[in-house]
Symmetry: C2
Subunit: 285 residues, 2 copies
């Protein structure tokens, strides 16, 4: 019987743990606070923001919203971000990207302090993930995958993992984090070729699918013993949300699998709050 | 017949190319210059420095040596490094590490500009390698492996590579660079287990051995079709220099192999000069 790795359970457990941590922190005079910087009204930004606000409220984290018109100039945005860097009452910052074309995303990222970079977008955070130095923070979705494995008692140590996709927001950081947990990771990508990718997936214990190709991974990639983490968020030809994994097919031939929706995506805002709390805790010491 | 991938040939070809590039640059008024910062008289630092000086002279690169007594304090060293950062006539910096214990290596690394970090030790360089953004420079030994593959016409694209070792100076950056060249990389390490590592090596087309274990890789890891790059520098029980690969055994069952000595190690100073020239070229534009 294939185990369903539900994101909601992971998010709920994280939320509960964070609630009591935040309560304790507030008793010591620290109120964890997240700044959300959004330019314009991109529907997917708004949707993620609503989820983050709801999660923050549950956990007891204060959110300060910085909302700007599409026409904002880079100097104003960077000036405000510098102010946020200086403001000890703000512990974490989420900046929706990409920013409008008059603004250089890279220049903005450069300003943000890695210590407040709870969404893992700065050079300091990326280097922290690459070197396992724990400076800054990992991208939330990559860490959400790790939190799912952790919650369900799946230890990557001594296991083989196939990470499908080599993006800086998921594939590469997830590979580094699995490696840090002593897993043996193979990173596959568009140039790996289908036959070879099937072979590698079949040899693996954990498959993390983050290629951005709807329903690509099916039972042909599996032998029955894999744990499948589906990071994909795509829309299929019928207009339905679907992952990079063909759930119907794959779930028949694996040990455990995350659904889409209700899998990795359900954990990201909880991870964002976890990282805000960690950022605030670092301030305490 | 197993092909011997000689480092000297690669270094000679690089040196020749660099000679004409440096000549052209000097005609345009740019004289590439490397600063070498050495604290104390560590024999292996001195040996590497001699090699670098010789190579620099061949190529036509000026070297400015900063040699300090073991007792140097951090402020002086950092002050000098800040001066080097500002000095437009110096394009690259090599700092021998570890530094004496009164000096915080991390604090020193933080000061160095990634644009002059031709040995790939700064956060900016590491992030550049991780993100393939080409900011800063890769660690010289990792890039030396890539230059050997390149010289002998071995394109990682579509191939499987096993990188053995996950250090920040070789394993991880080499994995990223092979991935950037569209190879499919598996990173093995001490927790992978011998049987599994053998299996992964046998499935691979390229093996990059950087575990730091003398003669560990032998014919049991091979099928006859592998290209073996040996990054190890160890001393065996007879006091002889040897790699991570048991050359006798492995060379009978692979397609191509680098010797030790005379393999990867013979290419590093040429790569250092290559990166100094690249740093100087960036200044030209």
């Amino acid at each position: 019987m294939t185990q369903l790795l539900k994101g909601k359970e992971v998010a709920d457990a994280l939320t509960e743990k964070l609630q009591s941590q935040v309560k304790e922190m507030k008793e010591k005079g620290i109120a964890p606070c997240l700044a959300i910087i959004r330019v314009g009204e991109n529907p997917s930004d708004l949707s993620y923001e609503r989820g983050a606000l709801k999660r923050a409220e549950k956990v007891g984290i204060t959110v300060r919203q910085y909302v700007y018109d599409e026409a904002i100039d880079q100097e104003t945005l960077i000036g405000d971000l510098e102010g946020i860097n200086q403001d000890d009452s703000i512990h974490g910052v989420l900046i929706f990207q990409p920013l409008p074309k008059q603004i250089d995303d890279g220049a903005v990222r450069k300003v943000l302090k890695p210590e407040k970079d709870v969404d893992g977008i700065t050079e300091g955070s990326l280097c922290g993930v690459f070197s396992a130095s724990h400076r800054g923070f990992a991208p939330c979705t990559a860490r959400a995958c790790m939190e799912i494995l952790n919650y369900y008692g799946i230890d990557p140590a001594g296991k083989r993992a196939a990470v499908l996709g080599r993006s800086l927001v998921i594939g590469k950081p997830a590979a580094m984090m699995i490696m840090e947990k002593n897993g043996t990771v193979t990173v596959c990508h568009s140039k790996t070729g289908e036959a070879r990718m099937m072979e590698i997936c079949k040899e693996s214990d954990i498959i993390l699918a983050a290629m951005g190709r709807a329903g690509m991974i099916d039972s042909r990639y599996l032998t029955g013993s894999q744990i499948v983490i589906d990071v994909g968020i795509n829309v299929d030809q019928h207009g339905n949300l679907c992952g990079d994994v063909d759930f119907e097919s794959a779930s028949r031939l694996c040990e455990a699998i995350t659904p889409v929706p209700g899998g990795v995506g359900a954990v990201t805002t909880a991870v964002l709050m976890l990282q805000v709390v960690e950022a605030a805790q670092q301030e305490m010491f």
